[in-house]
């Protein structure tokens, strides 16, 4: 990454890695098609023989000014063939993030694993570790009949538990999602303030000789949910986003301001969230674009104009991704509830007596308004309460079947 305060410019490098013919060049071609004219440079394929990349493909993207910094991404692919090892290494130099394009086909499993090992070795020569880098795996060629199930690929290839995106690069499916995910992992590191006030001026040479490497500091883990770990930085981010999503207006950007009780409460909710996602995966519940849209529209309805919504989000420092995550969670909750509780409508049938009862026990809430005036509101209230009870039950059940460890000392 180059940060140039003279030109007020940031330039990040993303590298598409993977075995030969897995679809790396195709990814770049799709991105090239989808980037608006004014923001893209030429897609350059260098010294190609047939359709095989010998040197590298290159696509520059210019996002324009963001908060006063012109922001650019440089996308590279590497040649996958084994005999171009040195080219792969040179393209990796200075990579800020890596996208591994895996070929889902059953007979390619070995090539995928070899390429991944090769990636690790090359990074190692630059003193880098894959698990510490922004890293995304794309399961490509999902359209082919001999594609392995994703679970199988996860087990055999994704030993890092890196985030993954299924794709059919040939039709463009999943390509932008992969790029956005990798970019956001790189960008998340630019959100955190530099530790301490002092920054080392100018860059040290990229290949530093073994100058007493700092003792490997593993990132602190705040909890384990079955096989998944929640890192402290992820938790911090979650807390901040939850605060911003919630009704609170005061800014809580400083994690230290969270009290221990709040942290514990938020961790519980994050664990629930994690359990939910794991359960959804087990049940093969996926959220379609349309379902997500419905949720997002629901949110947008709260605002008169798009500008008003953007302003609201900007004020809360929320990104569309934050909203999407939240919306996805809501859709999943709905779907799981429907799967787990077959007689859902039964549970939501409410009798007149129940409504009256609820009205009288909670009369304070309705400020003396007549029963008929608030009936609809009461019914909604009861439904909400039922839903909460159902969720509670569900989370209790999930927790019974799960192994959860909390590391309070890391909170």
């Amino acid at each position: 990454m180059q940060i140039n305060y003279g030109k007020r410019e940031v330039s990040c490098k993303l590298v598409y890695y993977g075995p030969g013919m897995s679809g790396k060049t195709t990814n770049l071609e799709v991105v090239h098609q989808r980037v608006p004219e004014k923001s893209k440079g030429d897609l350059t394929s260098i010294a190609t023989e047939g359709d095989r990349t010998l040197f590298f493909d290159f696509l520059p993207i210019d996002l324009g000014q963001v908060r006063g910094m012109t922001t650019k991404f440089q996308l590279y692919t590497v040649p996958g063939q084994i005999y171009y090892a040195s080219t792969r290494k040179l393209v990796l130099q200075g990579a800020d993030g890596v996208i591994f394009v895996a070929d889902s086909q059953a007979e390619k499993i070995k090539e995928n694993i070899e390429s991944l090992t090769d990636l690790q070795q090359n990074l190692d020569e630059y003193g880098l570790k894959l698990e510490e880098m922004p890293f995304v795996i794309q399961w490509n060629k999902r359209d082919l009949p001999n594609a392995l199930p994703i679970e199988e690929l996860e087990k055999q290839i994704n030993t890092f538990r890196a985030p993954t995106v299924p794709a059919v690069a040939a039709t463009g499916e999943g390509v932008l999602a992969t790029l956005k995910l990798a970019a956001s992992l790189v960008l998340d590191r630019l959100n955190t303030k530099e530790p301490g006030a002092a920054t080392k001026k100018a860059a040290a040479p990229a290949e530093k000789p073994a100058e007493a490497p700092p003792a490997e500091k593993k990132e602190a883990v705040v909890a384990k949910i079955n096989a998944d770990q929640i890192s402290r930085s992820y938790f911090t981010q979650y807390c901040q986003v939850q605060y911003r999503l919630g009704a609170r207006t005061e800014e809580v950007d400083d994690f230290k301001k969270f009290s221990m009780d709040e942290k514990k409460r938020l961790l519980e909710s994050l664990i629930n969230h994690g359990l939910l996602l794991q359960d959804a995966k087990k049940r093969s519940i996926v959220v379609s674009k349309e379902e997500l849209e419905v949720q997002l529209k629901e949110f947008a309805r709260r605002f008169k104009t798009k500008e008003e919504m953007d302003a609201h989000l900007a004020h809360r420092k929320l990104s569309l991704d934050n909203l999407r995550n939240e919306a996805t969670k809501n859709v999943i909750i709905g779907k799981i509830i429907q799967k787990v509780i077959p007689n859902l409508n039964e549970k939501f049938r409410i009798t007149e007596t129940e409504v009256k009862e609820y009205y009288f026990t909670n009369s304070a809430k309705y400020g003396g308004k007549s029963f008929d005036a608030v009936k609809a509101e009461v019914i909604a209230g009861i439904k909400n309460q039922r839903k909460r009870e159902l969720l509670d039950e569900m989370f209790k059940a999930l927790r019974r079947e799960s192994s959860i460890t909390i590391f309070e000392e890391n909170l």
Binding site: M1, Q2, I3, N4, Y5, G6, K7, S11, K13, R34, S39, G41, D42, T44, I46, F56, F58, P60, L63, G64, V66, R67, G68, T71, K72, Q74, Y76, S86, L90, V91, Q93, G94, G127, E132, L179, K180, S184, L187, R189, L190, N191, T192, E194, P195, A197, A198, T199, K200, K201, A202, A203, A204, P205, A206, P214, K217, K317, S319, L320, D321
Partner: protein, 166 residues
């Protein structure tokens, strides 16, 4: 913090150093009579370009130059050198002269018949020595200049979302 290593790898150019660099490059273009010069870091990012160069795609040129240099490193290794510090490509009208600047950048000069490779070679040696010195001093300085506005990364994400709206 696991990002420590990554941060160390960032190539940072601060305003005062950058201004100095551009001044040197301007002088160099004038003295050598070249058409233009590109300063490119070894990872392939353009640092800056000076002179008249509107017809070039600077980003792609930078990636190629950095790639070419790294590739010749392999060549050098075979000959028992660690790397070649100068490369020269001759065209019918335009030529390009590449030279290493310290251990982090490459200076790419485009020139035509108004000058000679000898002149470019001479002045670029001077230039690279001066630039290397700036880098060297800069690397030792510590500064407290704030890195980024908070929320910068999120803002870029939004921009990406906008750009790739379905």
């Amino acid at each position: 913090m696991k990002d420590e290593k990554l941060k160390d790898r960032r190539l940072v150019y601060y305003k005062d150093d950058f201004d100095q660099i551009e001044k040197l490059l301007d002088e160099y273009v004038k003295l050598s009579n070249a058409r233009c010069v590109f300063l490119i870091d070894k990872e392939g990012h353009l640092v800056t370009q000076r002179g008249i160069s509107q017809t070039f795609n600077a980003a792609t040129l930078s990636a190629l130059v950095a790639g070419a240099f790294a590739a010749t490193k392999e060549m050098a290794r075979l000959l028992g050198e660690t790397e070649f510090s100068v490369m020269f490509h001759q065209g019918r009208k335009d030529n390009i002269h590449l030279s290493l600047v310290g251990d982090r950048a490459i200076n790419a000069t485009v020139f035509d018949e108004k000058t000679t490779v000898g002149m470019v070679n001479l002045y670029s040696k001077e230039l690279t020595a001066k630039l290397a010195k700036i880098f060297e001093i800069a690397a030792k300085k510590i500064t407290s200049e704030p890195a980024f506005e908070t929320g910068y990364g999120d803002s870029v994400k939004d921009r990406l979302d906008d750009m790739f709206k379905e």
